[in-house]
Symmetry: C2
Subunit: 395 residues, 2 copies
């Protein structure tokens, strides 16, 4: 194991803690840009509660509303313009992964000279992630992306049909204020997609890892076991606050680096899903629940070992030997069945996506992430042809 780990975000976690936002924010600025999405935080009253807590502590507020799912670079530019014009000195993200991702990149774009799209990795030669950003405070209203406590963001370009990521230390939120009560109103389908997202964040690192990381393996399995158990409960009863709490905590540890530390991971499933949703604007978690099992089967046939461990420890299956492909595939079946059991799609046809653009998705994935042989990185690196094969098996 050879790695670096750094995550300076202060996590404040617990049901009912939203009203602390004013006291928290005044440590970082006097005028907050509140970034929001399609309006659910208005309907739930969360927005008003945040504004009044901020005003109570003497923090002025300006809003950048209307961040779309799969947030676009045009929205980032709009938000940065507001932040500059209004002299905002802190950004508060109130929403799901899209809102938090947009808010982080807005915070960087407000201090960035040039086109903010250059900050996003989209296959350009000299990718330059940002080195400074306004302080960001995240308030997630959905348990899914883990963006509240990491340095990543995913942004789409609707002109070029590229959806891709940026990673930079300046994007770590100063504070993640996580109040699971805010997720009680999330509808069943979005709750389930969130659970798929959580599980896939963990499986990406777990299955693609080539390092010997027995402790991280246990951490990863622990998150998956609990995301499965509490995810079912949260989908069955959206008002189950304990289930919402455990799922929200799972979403944070699934992608704040704790589970990935030391693991030489890569994210091929995310890369393929990004290519898909750039063209079809589908829910990220829904795309993952389709691509993930297909990708697993492709890889497990060549490298069954880790999949056998997964089948044994997560689903308590018996293996005849450490490379038992049958057991490996049965573990993947169980995960796919789980995704279906909470109402997630597992075939592209369920989303009305045909095979017309398979080559295009494959090319887009590789454009954004490729090794020295021009393949999409993963435990088993994938050529364009391989990705098309995975997509076919998920049709």
């Amino acid at each position: 194991m050879k790695f670096e780990f750094y995550n300076p975000t202060r996590l404040i976690f617990g049901a009912g803690r939203l009203p602390e936002i004013g006291k928290i924010t005044k440590n970082y600025g006097r005028k907050a840009l509140i970034v929001t999405g399609g309006g659910s935080v208005k309907r739930s009253g969360a927005f008003d509660r945040v504004v009044s807590s901020l005003l109570e502590e003497g923090v002025e507020t300006v809003e950048c509303a209307g961040i779309e799912p799969n947030p676009r670079i045009t929205s980032v530019k709009r938000g940065a313009q507001i932040a500059r014009k209004e002299d905002c000195d802190v950004v508060v993200a109130l929403g799901g992964g899209s809102v938090m991702d947009a808010a982080k990149v807005i915070a960087a774009a407000a201090l960035y000279d040039g086109d903010p799209w250059n900050m996003i990795n989209h296959g350009q030669q000299n990718w330059l992630p940002p080195s400074k950003a306004l302080p960001v405070i995240t308030i997630p209203t959905l348990a899914a992306t883990g963006s509240e406590m990491n340095r990543g963001a995913v942004i789409s370009n609707s002109e070029t049909k590229i959806k891709s990521f940026v990673l930079a230390e300046c994007l770590y939120p100063k504070v993640a204020l996580v109040d699971p009560e805010l997720t009680l109103t999330v509808p069943k389908d979005q709750t389930a997609y969130g659970v798929c997202d959580i599980i896939t964040h963990v499986t990406e690192g777990y299955f693609n890892n080539r390092a010997n990381t027995p402790i991280q393996d246990r951490f990863a399995e622990g998150v998956i076991i609990n995301a499965i158990e509490w995810g079912s409960k949260a989908v069955a009863d959206g008002n189950d606050l304990e289930a919402r709490t455990q799922v929200q905590w799972a979403s944070i540890v699934a992608l704040n680096g704790w589970v990935q530390a030391g693991a030489k991971g890569s994210s091929p499933v995310h890369m393929i899903e990004h290519a898909l949703s750039a063209h079809h604007d589908i829910a990220h978690g829904a795309g993952l629940s389709i691509i993930s099992p297909a990708w697993m089967r492709f890889t497990a046939k060549v490298y069954p070992g880790k999949f056998v461990q997964f089948a044994q420890r997560v689903f308590a299956l018996k293996a005849r030997n450490p490379e038992d492909t049958e057991c490996a595939l049965e573990g993947i079946n169980r995960l796919e069945e789980y995704f279906r059991s909470i109402g997630c799609p597992t075939r592209l046809s369920e989303l009305g996506i045909g095979d017309e653009l398979f080559t295009q998705y494959a090319r887009d994935s590789i454009l954004v992430s490729h090794d020295e042989n021009g393949k999409l990185p993963g435990r088993l690196p994938m050529s364009e042809k391989d990705i098309v094969e995975i997509l076919k098996s998920a049709s």
Copy 2:
């Protein structure tokens, strides 16, 4: 779950990384106080390698050598005096837990007005932990305390015979440079004591926790399972770099807050051990391996549930029901057997400690940490009489 988590230490981990110390340190200062212990880092050559890397990057060095096991407040004062006199602006800790703990408190004492002993919790009315410190960089040479990546330190007062702790955000090291090669020369007994320390850090939070933390439980069990497995290997063959690496990584995650997040823990075993070693100057890990199983038996008889889960998941024992006391006790026996198998003492008599001062240790523990009823906090709070009973059972 209601909690806050914050740990801004940058971890740089991997065999062979020691020579990076110069480049790392120059980001924080121009003159380093290097804090060391009894001389093993001189014999191993690690000290010279650190000094030459620092000088190469233009960082001047001053040494504060001779930090003793169970580091004393007098050594802290000496170190702070050197730092002030020599105008040091960064502190580099090169050693085990004692050295790192002393270095952290030296870094705070150098900027502290008044008696540094006031920073340490020793039962005083108005305990004021420090609010600022020189930047600290830790280089552990032993896998045990986890001090390299946390905000705690334990300091002893040989006059008052009190050994106690300080916790403060300013004590988080800026960087932990962790090179498992440095632990290859640690003798068998110290290696084993370190493994006990690692396991006890995790079991304290795990068994004393009253919150519902199923994910953290899995993390905790993962660390324990691996500390047991790789600990045996590291004790059997000190030159096994992979075992040294996994044990070192276990020592970090055992006490950097990842396993404890959300868990409402307390540390009664540590409190009792501190009281013991303040009087007898024994190795911390050796004290823990005696007190820990005795304390577990005391608590498991009243609250067997978590001990049953431990027995099932860590030692794969079968339970007749979730409160099966027999299974709980068998799990504790297995852990005690493990401690013995790696050469740790499990009875006070093995260290030549009699029952003369049992009441004194109990009083000292409660002096430093007590609830509103004057008991030592834990899953089952303990009176003076209870602690004496635990000590008797460990005689």
